[in-house]
């Protein structure tokens, strides 16, 4: 376990509570990556060009590193390559910022080929703007090539660009496979439900409770990196529930782009379960929900949102009511539950059922023939059969999506036409 020191530069007159929340989140992120936080440095000032924090604060940081034997410094603020170089030279230890920390976490958790590619893509996108500067800083004294006229700065940048385009191509192919799979699932009569929300809100615990299956659940950020999908049946309607990666505030666009294929499961769902931790203070829940709304606003298509307020067992009923009043304007269709204590799950299931895309009812009669039986079997797959009567003809009451109903009607017509012509 490495000892780390966390640093945050706060703008003068900025919201202190907000700054504190951000700092705690950084601490949480550091712990998630197995770091031991041994010191904190906070400064109120506008950014310094050389080191982000002031020169005096850098001296203070150096002393703290020596005292606590820290091996790494993590900045909340985004650092450019010159700043990273200057601070690491002064402190004689590794310096990273919040985004690099997130990438480190993602890299350690990535297990499948696709998630590894996504992490590499995000790392390369992060590195690209810094590539030129990094090489020129490290090779200040050297002049490569014949008589110092060559240059490897460009080639390093070109290498990164080439690798990015290769990864994009590979991820594009897997994305197409995903889309095809999603369409297939829709056609098979499944409705798509996705779990979304801020990281560590308890999405995986809820997933486990809903589908009765073990997926890794831990009290740390970004436990889930790749979407997991399982089937779920509520009131005989079949649906696929997907657990996804959590959101985080100020996630830079290059990172969202890199994980687009993971998040697309959320954006193309019929119903989104927006999970929030109700045991947290109201301003924090508000902030986290606002981040989710922000991401939804950019990407969401036509989906119903259900706000699942999880971890209700940790606070009293009065507190739950108070929080609901305070955050209600950001919580569409709120349902209070505790995934761990399995409380409120039935109400949640009922709400999910109500928000599913509307299915239509149809009573149809089919000839008792081989073709008729194959239509019956198809309808059992695609929709919900309420009633079936095998007499001289097959009479059935079904409920299904509009496309299925129209297809069933035309098939019914076709079968009767062909049987009468025989």
């Amino acid at each position: 376990m490495k000892n780390v020191i966390l640093v945050q530069r706060r703008d003068p007159r900025s919201d202190d509570e907000d700054n504190q929340i951000k700092f705690l989140e950084l601490e949480e992120l550091a712990r998630s990556n197995d770091y031991r936080v041994v010191g904190e440095v906070i400064q109120y000032r506008f950014p310094d060009r050389k080191c982000q924090i002031g020169q005096g604060k850098v001296e203070e940081l150096i002393a703290l590193i020596r005292e606590k034997a820290a091996e790494k410094v993590i900045f909340y603020n985004q650092l450019n390559s010159t700043q990273i170089y200057n601070i690491s030279e002064a402190c004689q230890c590794e310096v990273i910022d919040k985004f690099q920390l997130i990438l480190e976490i993602f890299a350690t958790r990535a297990t499948t080929n696709r998630s590894k590619l996504q992490v590499e893509l995000a790392q390369l996108r992060y590195e690209l703007p810094k590539a030129r500067m990094l090489v020129s800083l490290l090779k200040k004294e050297e002049r490569p090539g014949f008589m110092g006229l060559g240059g490897y700065e460009d080639s390093y940048e070109q290498d990164i660009k080439k690798r990015i385009s290769r990864i994009n191509k590979e991820l594009g192919a897997s994305l197409r496979d995903d889309e095809a799979l999603r369409t297939f699932r829709h056609e098979k009569g499944f409705s798509l439900v996705a779990l979304a929300g801020y990281t560590n809100a308890g999405k995986s615990t809820l997933f486990r409770t809903l589908v009765h299956e073990d997926v890794p659940v831990e009290n740390m950020l970004f436990t889930t990196l790749l979407p997991t999908t399982r089937s779920l049946t509520i009131n005989k309607r079949r649906m696929l529930l997907t657990d996804t990666v959590g959101f985080i505030e100020d996630l830079p666009h290059w990172m969202v782009d890199a994980f687009r294929s993971t998040l697309e499961g959320v954006f193309l769902a019929d119903v989104i379960l927006l999970v929030a931790d109700i045991s947290e203070p109201a301003p924090l829940i508000r902030k986290k929900l606002a981040v989710c709304h922000d991401i939804f606003w950019e990407q969401l298509e036509n989906a119903s949102i259900i706000t699942v307020l999880n971890k209700a067992d940790r606070i009293s009923e009065e507190q739950v009511q108070m929080r609901l009043d305070q955050i209600g304007y950001l919580a569409p269709n709120p349902v209070v539950i505790s995934a761990k204590a399995s409380f409120g799950i039935d109400t949640l299931k009922e709400t999910i059922f109500q928000k599913l895309p509307i299915w239509e009812y149809l009573r149809l009669s089919l000839p008792m023939s081989e073709e008729g039986m194959s239509v019956v079997s198809w309808l059992f797959d695609e929709g919900l059969v309420h009633n079936i009567d095998y007499g001289d003809t097959i009479v059935m009451d079904i409920e299904a999506r509009h496309e299925i109903i129209s297809r069933a009607e035309s098939l019914e017509q076709e079968l009767w036409d062909s049987s009468s012509s025989l």
């Binding site: 007159r13 900025s14 919201d15 508000r286 929900l289 606002a290 709304h293 939804f296 606003w297 969401l300 949102i305 706000t307 209600g328 304007y329 950001l330 919580a331 569409p332």
Partner: protein, 130 residues
């Protein structure tokens, strides 16, 4: 369900030798993710020979909102107030103000944006402003 006044300003760029801006304020009843009802609208145009500063933007929004009969929280894009922190913008207004958070508030601003943009285009065409 709660009421908001969504505000948007179009035309904050130099056109010929002046800034011809249109501010639209729309009252809406919204839930967390949907707009339930669109109420009143007020549109006001402003002419200025130099770029609008924060004070002028505040004045434009206040003047436009004054024409409405609804009393609700004004919702305006952070960028419209030069990305000032919310607490600073709040104290500059006589009415409650906030930046958009929920999907419905963002939708509200989108409506106000369509109103201000189309009104500005119409006015430019009608008065032949070049």
């Amino acid at each position: 369900m709660y009421n908001i006044i969504a505000v948007d300003i179009s035309g904050r760029h130099l056109m010929g030798e002046q800034y011809f801006m249109v501010c639209a304020a729309v009252t809406l009843s919204v839930s967390a993710s949907q707009i339930r009802r669109v109420g009143e609208m007020n549109i006001k145009s402003f002419n200025r020979d130099r770029a609008p500063d924060v004070d002028y933007v505040v004045q434009m929004i206040e003047d436009t909102v004054d024409g409405l009969n609804t009393d609700a929280t004004i919702v305006v894009e952070k960028g419209d107030l030069y990305n000032q922190p919310e607490w600073l913008s709040k104290i500059m207004f006589s009415q409650d103000l906030k930046y958009p958070e929920s999907l419905s508030e963002r939708l509200g601003i989108e409506i106000a944006h369509h109103v201000s943009l189309s009104s500005r285009r119409l006015l430019i065409r009608k008065f032949g402003i070049e």
